[in-house]
């Protein structure tokens, strides 16, 4: 299978390289405004813009065409003016989208996502309608607009340089966005985090908001040809959302999102070349021999997101599970130390069997206890002698801290809450794991340094390290 993988990649050409470069540039250009949309909880606005700017594109197309037919512009300058008109149309419609959605929300008293939904579908439908109406005069392929044609976009090169036009457009957009983010980093951060403070400081959050909106609309148009407007939303939102899971500082989030965007482009194209022939031919569909890069990029982005959701060091689901598991192990180990200490106070040290098969433990706790005993022996906290488990000097001071926490807490609760003695134990059993020397000291001094707990058991002195 690995060999097969390499055979499909063996006819990698400069054409493939340009596809990857163009895709990476457009994805990275999208990721920059995307970071701020995600943080402002305006991800839906990105989706909406990606659809409504279609109307702007068609209007730009028709407008420049009308100028040509009317003889206002020379045929030689037509392509440049057409491109400019498309960008301008998209930006204007982008701004109109935001203003309309805000107006619908205010006047119609709808919630903001409903307001966006209304504006979104209306303007998008108008765009599609115009394409149909104008189909006789202009050439816009609705399929291409919706799904993007990375593979054909790179064929349109500039002069003899061999550099695809779309690579230059997207690269330029990445540069512009990068400069905007660098220049207005602090203003973007503040207006995203706390627009009220930005307002009171006179830092114009409304202007910053508009700049972000314009940059997003322009980026979407630039990325249109290569990624298509359905999938551009994946590039706008998914890498930043993944980066959000992986970082807790804004600069790192931005860098992560750029890296992930590039990663999606590279592996999106590689998988587009290899996965369908390898996978689908085995499933009995040999006719599926290639997938579109844009679609594969979105899939890779989705996989990255779920990977981050599971494995992110701080926010990942598995990381949290692992943390809780470690916490549980510590609790069990501390409970075992406490139990050994208590039985040493009165009787003989307990046997391993007695510790593990304590009738109050459930089976899961018994397994954990066995594991904790092994671990503590390795760490030199306990030793085993003729079946009995004894505390070492190190183990004794840890156990003293636990038992001390437990009995101090019982005394504290007994003083302040009128509880029967039997009710004190359960909470103390839980709280003992969370007290540190400073808190124990505070408890002890508030209780006027008691010698024993409510049941008359001696409270150990604070162990010296």
């Amino acid at each position: 299978m690995v060999a097969e993988f390499w055979t499909y990649l063996s006819d990698w050409s400069s054409f493939d390289t340009w596809i990857v470069v163009t895709a990476a540039l457009s994805a990275m250009a999208c990721a920059l405004p995307g970071c701020f949309l995600v943080l402002r909880r305006q991800s839906l606005l990105g989706d909406v813009l990606s659809h409504t700017v279609l109307l702007g594109i068609v209007l730009g197309f028709l407008g420049s065409h009308a100028l040509l037919v009317g003889g206002w512009i020379l045929p030689s300058s037509y392509p440049a003016i057409q491109k400019a008109a498309i960008f301008a149309g998209a930006i204007i419609i982008g701004m109109i989208t935001a203003v309309l959605a805000d107006a619908v929300k205010r006047i119609g008293r709808t919630e903001s996502s409903a307001a966006l939904g209304v504006v979104y579908t209306t303007l998008f439908a108008a765009g599609l309608l115009l394409i149909r109406l104008a189909a006789d005069h202009i050439h816009i392929d609705a399929d291409c607009v919706l799904f993007g044609m990375e593979e054909t976009a790179v064929l349109d090169t500039v002069g003899t340089t061999g550099i695809p036009r779309s690579a230059i457009v997207n690269g330029g957009m990445l540069l512009v966005n990068g400069l905007l983010v660098l220049l207005f980093f602090k203003e973007l951060r503040l207006s995203s985090f706390d627009p009220q403070l930005a307002d009171t400081l006179g830092l114009r959050p409304g202007v910053i908001n508009m700049v972000l909106l314009i940059a997003t609309s322009a980026t979407l148009v630039a990325a249109f040809e290569s990624v298509g407007n359905i999938l551009v939303i994946a590039m706008l939102i998914v890498p930043p959302a993944t980066a959000f899971l992986l970082s807790d500082r804004l600069p790192f989030m931005v860098l992560w999102s750029l890296f992930l965007a590039g990663f999606c482009a590279i592996f999106g194209h590689i998988f587009a070349l290899t996965v369908p022939p390898i996978l689908f031919s085995r499933m009995g569909w040999p006719e599926v021999d290639g997938a579109r890069t844009a679609g594969m990029m979105a899939s890779v982005a989705g996989i990255c997101f779920f990977g981050a959701l599971l494995f992110s060091p701080r926010k990942g689901v598995l990381s949290k599970l692992f943390y809780h598991w470690q916490l549980q192990l510590r609790f069990i180990a501390e409970d075992v130390l406490g139990t050994i200490y208590r039985s040493q106070e009165t009787r003989e040290p307990p046997s391993k069997q007695a510790l593990v098969f304590d009738p109050s433990l459930r089976w899961k706790q018994r397994l954990l206890t066995m594991w904790a005993l092994v671990r503590m022996k390795q760490l030199g906290l306990v030793v085993q002698q003729q079946g009995e488990v004894l505390l070492t000097a190190k183990g004794t001071s840890l156990a003293e801290a636990i038992v001390r926490s437990h009995r101090l807490w019982e005394s504290y609760m007994a003083r302040h809450l009128q509880l029967p003695d039997v009710h004190l134990h359960a909470t103390a059993e839980w709280v003992e794991h969370y007290l540190d020397p400073a808190l124990r000291e505070a408890l002890e001094s508030e209780l006027d340094r008691p010698q024993s707990d409510p049941q008359g058991k001696q409270i150990p002195a604070e162990p010296v390290e």
């Binding site: 943080l39 909880r41 220049l183 207005f184 980093f185 602090k186 203003e187 951060r189 503040l190 995203s192 985090f193 706390d194 009220q196 403070l197 930005a198 307002d199 009171t200 400081l201 006179g202 830092l203 959000f244 970082s247 807790d248 500082r249 804004l250 790192f252 989030m253």
Partner: protein
């Protein structure tokens, strides 16, 4: 306040030195008036509690003077000038719930935000400003938490970050929206100490406050509010049982009714 409606009253004369002068301010949300005809002059160098029941317009008062909520009528001046010209001298501490605490910034980053106006457009936050922010955090006993992402702070610590952010602005007037809500005993202590310190520096603070028990202990002045200004002045004169009864004894029935009518006019 006179209870005789027939007595004619001259409009209040506002001292030019007052940190905050409100002249006949009315504020409405979606047409419905929530604050009626407020006339107020904040005293210099005093700690002022803004007290009133839920929905009395306490937060609205602060937000309206800062132009965060549009005013229907009225003139607001800070140190004798409009807010736009006095931004440097006013610091605002919003309610803790007004921002997203999952935002990827550290406590230090948030405090430095108070300096963004001073730093200026398009310039980075340099070491000098980070040190200023650090000093402000230190004054609130938060230096050890400077590098923490803000969601990993307790509610009280988050409130202290907000206060440090206001402190770093070196303002002369502080407007604080419920800084004491949901904080631990240590934070309450820290806030009170900070307020006292500001006062000894001749600064003024207007604080929306909920705990009637501590008003006389913490504040020199009080502003009682319930849709309109009930009374304002030194705590010992104004914070009386009679005035509190007026403030908390229910809204003025007709004031409320007219407000409703303006919000939802009857169709003819």
């Amino acid at each position: 306040m006179s209870t005789d409606a027939a007595t004619s009253r001259t409009p209040p004369e506002h001292p030019v030195t007052s940190p905050l002068t409100i002249d006949d301010m009315t504020v409405a949300y979606d047409r419905k008036p929530v604050l009626w005809n407020v006339d107020y002059d904040a005293p210099v160098g005093k700690l002022v509690a803004i007290v009133g029941p839920n929905g009395a317009g306490k937060s609205t008062l602060i937000r309206a003077v800062l132009d965060l909520v549009p005013r229907v009528s009225g003139v607001v001046q800070f140190f004798g000038q409009p807010y736009r010209q006095q931004r440097n001298r006013v610091a605002y501490v919003p309610q803790r719930g007004s921002v997203d605490w999952d935002f990827p910034v550290s406590a230090l980053d948030v405090v430095a935000m108070g300096l963004y106006r001073q730093i200026g457009w398009c310039r980075p936050v340099t070491k000098k400003f980070k040190e200023l922010a650090m000093q402000a955090l230190d004054r609130l006993g938060m230096a050890a938490f400077a590098r923490r992402q803000i969601s990993q702070l307790s509610g009280g610590q988050q409130q202290r970050v907000f206060l440090a952010r206001a402190l770093v602005q070196e303002a002369d007037l502080y407007l604080m929206d419920e800084p004491f809500t949901g904080v631990d005993a240590a934070t309450e202590r820290a806030i009170v100490d900070l307020l006292r310190e500001l006062q000894t520096q001749g600064k003024t603070a207007l604080v929306v406050h909920h705990d009637l028990q501590t008003v006389t202990e913490y504040f020199d002045d009080v502003l009682l509010l319930n849709l309109h200004l009930i009374a304002a002045g030194p705590t010992e004169d104004v914070f009386t049982v009679e005035n509190l009864r007026k403030t908390y004894g229910g809204k003025l029935a007709l004031l409320d009714q007219v407000g409703q009518r303006i919000a939802v006019p009857e169709t003819r």
